[in-house]
Symmetry: C2
Subunit: 555 residues, 2 copies
Amino acid sequence: MSSERLIYLPLGGAGEIGMNAYVYGYGKPGKERLIVVDIGVAFPDMDTSPGVDLILPDITWLKERRDRIDAIFITHAHEDHVGAVAHYYEALRAPVYARRFTANIARRKMSEHGHPDEAVTVVQAWPEQIKAGPFTVAFLPISHSIPESSAMVIDTPEGRVIHSGDFKIDRTPGVGEAFDDALWADICKDGVKALICDSTNVFSPNAGRSEATVGPEIETLVSNADGMVIATTFASNVARVKTLAVAGERAGRSIVLLGRSMNRMVEAALESGVMTDFPTRIAPEDARGLPRENLMLLVTGSQGERRAASAQLANGKFQGLEAKEGDLFLFSSKTIPGNERGVIRIINMFSEKGVDVVDDSSGLYHVSGHANRPDLEQLHSIVKPQILIPMHGEHRHLREHVKIANAKGIKGVLAVNGMMIDLSGNEPKVIEYIDTGRTYLDGSVKIGALDGVVRDRIRMALNGHVTVTVILDADDSPLGEPWVDMMGLPEMGNSDSPLADVLEADLAQWLNRAGARTLRDDKALNDGLKKVARQSANDEIGKKPEVTVVVSRLS
Amino acid sequence: MSSERLIYLPLGGAGEIGMNAYVYGYGKPGKERLIVVDIGVAFPDMDTSPGVDLILPDITWLKERRDRIDAIFITHAHEDHVGAVAHYYEALRAPVYARRFTANIARRKMSEHGHPDEAVTVVQAWPEQIKAGPFTVAFLPISHSIPESSAMVIDTPEGRVIHSGDFKIDRTPGVGEAFDDALWADICKDGVKALICDSTNVFSPNAGRSEATVGPEIETLVSNADGMVIATTFASNVARVKTLAVAGERAGRSIVLLGRSMNRMVEAALESGVMTDFPTRIAPEDARGLPRENLMLLVTGSQGERRAASAQLANGKFQGLEAKEGDLFLFSSKTIPGNERGVIRIINMFSEKGVDVVDDSSGLYHVSGHANRPDLEQLHSIVKPQILIPMHGEHRHLREHVKIANAKGIKGVLAVNGMMIDLSGNEPKVIEYIDTGRTYLDGSVKIGALDGVVRDRIRMALNGHVTVTVILDADDSPLGEPWVDMMGLPEMGNSDSPLADVLEADLAQWLNRAGARTLRDDKALNDGLKKVARQSANDEIGKKPEVTVVVSRLS
């Protein structure tokens, strides 16, 4: 007999920052009914995923069980939580639930993929509950750097589970709901089986600061500025966008929004009602005639993205507006590790224009949206779970978070992507390891991260590429000599002859000496010519290129 | 009549961090005798220079004037100051001067390139002076994160110029010379024409800390550790390496050096006499039998370099030694912007092994080797130059440093790479713009950064590569159909057919419709086939690959 069990399975976000995707299940082993919490993306980089557009979780396991999925819940509208929802809607075909603002963003994504609004159901916050198979699920407001972020209160036959989503504890968040101590205490008062908890800031030792502390600093900065002020932050940080806009308005400046997502997020916040009193905006074309000291631009591109408004302004004009000597550029944002080079590039370009750049280094103009270590401990104390499973973090974050839990007498469980945990009974257990990974959206096609496609691209980037062409007649005799076409390789080698000439001479020599058996054998020819080309290049330029051999046989 | 003039020309390092190369000249315009201060390298990355081994300054201008170069002076042995000296020795053929330790490192490089020891002349510190054309030059000790760092005191017919080199003001530096206030005051007492000054830490607002503050913290950490301790820092930071080793020794641990540069730098420091009393080391093979709590490994790889000892230990064994649960790994170093991903990767790999990692975030276990803003101001006050030219920094650093100088009544001059400044008379002037840039060491070949070679590699990494082959007979008629070979592209496209099949069908269709004039014209064929292949791929996979067209004509 196999009794029913409660399982937890991270498919993304546990062992990395980004690409969150968590599965809960209840039922007999192998027949659990499933719900999914968040289905986000991660972003590619040149080092590991050149040419890739977006990184999605590998949902092979879920697809094979899609008839058992009762619902997908989205905690908030950040890309690393909602970004894959439209890409996988057809594959999973499960109803998607989200609160108003999140649903607004999710529906825009669905619509871009041709899916209807009905794909996403709007849910109110607690006390509304959604029945999803054996689960009863509610959205419990929690503060974060985007409106209507929510923890999920998941009631199961094994007890209540709380999935924190991304959060900080902010009692004065500006836009959106303050952390409600009384409500949280009430919801947790009858005992919580497990807290699945954000871990990204576990190494930040000091208590986090409220969004409200940022406003006065920004107002001082903006009111002391002489020229035009340009400020950037994540567009989805609607509270910050508003703080910036209000600071501009109070300093007698007209507000201009630049960049697609900046406009879209402010619209979504107004449409969904999470924000009501945003300062009047003017269009870029109306701003051109105004004195610089009466302008404040709120722009996309806080991470140095090459096509965003900040990069374009650093480069030259954007929508007719231009930064000039004496202007001020404010990064009201943190640079995500890996994006430093892009951000620094923009700062230097502004420096060349004589624009003063203020960034986060003073700590005055930005606060994090995630709970620092003392804030995590505060949540642990409020929730008092039997079990704590850290999520959303690299291995080092999860491990540290487990240590904190254990030190406080809470059973900490380190579960990375693919580890299925049985939460039933008294002792959580790892019961299965699921193959997980990453799926690349590459142009319009989805490919596996380990398919070898991207590996080949990286090799061409490191080593360059040579095409070797050989034509053989009907008797398997070479017709003329082999020739090469190169890409990404220097024209001249160490012997001061054109590299192509040297390769062709070496290839011709090899081909002349090749026996009849080799000439008849495509694989032997291919291997031989490739080896000669690589060795010859290595002698000439100290580098072994990737080689494509094209053998044409006339018959 | 054109009178003689004193010129300053940065060829690298002014507008970037790394790749330092500065030229001073004196004489009639266009006939100045020249000296070079430092000739360093920068390091490549996947984003901008995939496959490149090393980035060197473009010395075209210098090569064309090499008969006018009287000497090359190297301030210290960091790669970004000495790294290009052997690569350019043949091109410049000028005598190289350095102090003992720096010369030791420079000679190792010369020797790797087959150049004799005599290529580098060892010079004592001030008061020894070298006559170099119209210049008299001395090495003035200044503290930094490597032994025997020196400022250059350059006496010219226009007065004394001081080139700071990289520095901090450290009166208790551990290994090497303390900053000597009396000596500096004496050297500057008769007036200094210009101070050319390190700018890298100009945005750090607090006074820098001495190397001596690090020792006690590291000792506490190491003596409290239970398992094996592994520590990394820049190997060239010999003072830190010694601090770490002494901390290990005091905690009753045997010291093992791992990694080529770690061994080489300690050897160089002992050989050149800058360090005398380094704790006894044991060989890795002797360490294997010892209890873990009696071991301390000092390893290379503080920047997460993939092949360094730290990465190999994170991955598995290195020279028979292995990190295990309960061990401690210390980054006694700062992560250079751009290297975050590599460092974080290693931290997570250690985390998976159960190894605790301590990094610089607490500020306890590392101090910078560069002067922070208050330290820069201190040097300005000691030197009291008429003119201050910031060097070694990105544009933002140079600009900020100029502001600081101007605020104190010193004439600040912002000179980036390629700007030739006339320092004669009372008013410094930009008199010429020299084309500068970067030279890539790519395998064993030097190529220009803008030659297009690396651009093509980046394109292949982003877009993949297709070879299209077509054979035409003597009458310019296609012999069979075109075919394609792909690299770095998905096998299947959106139509669920193999991508190669779709491309070949589209190419065949185009070729069948091509007129006789197109078939006779290689360029028209090439352009047409390339366009079709790119368009066809774009329809199928949403991506336009790089295309090599190979047209073979039988005759």
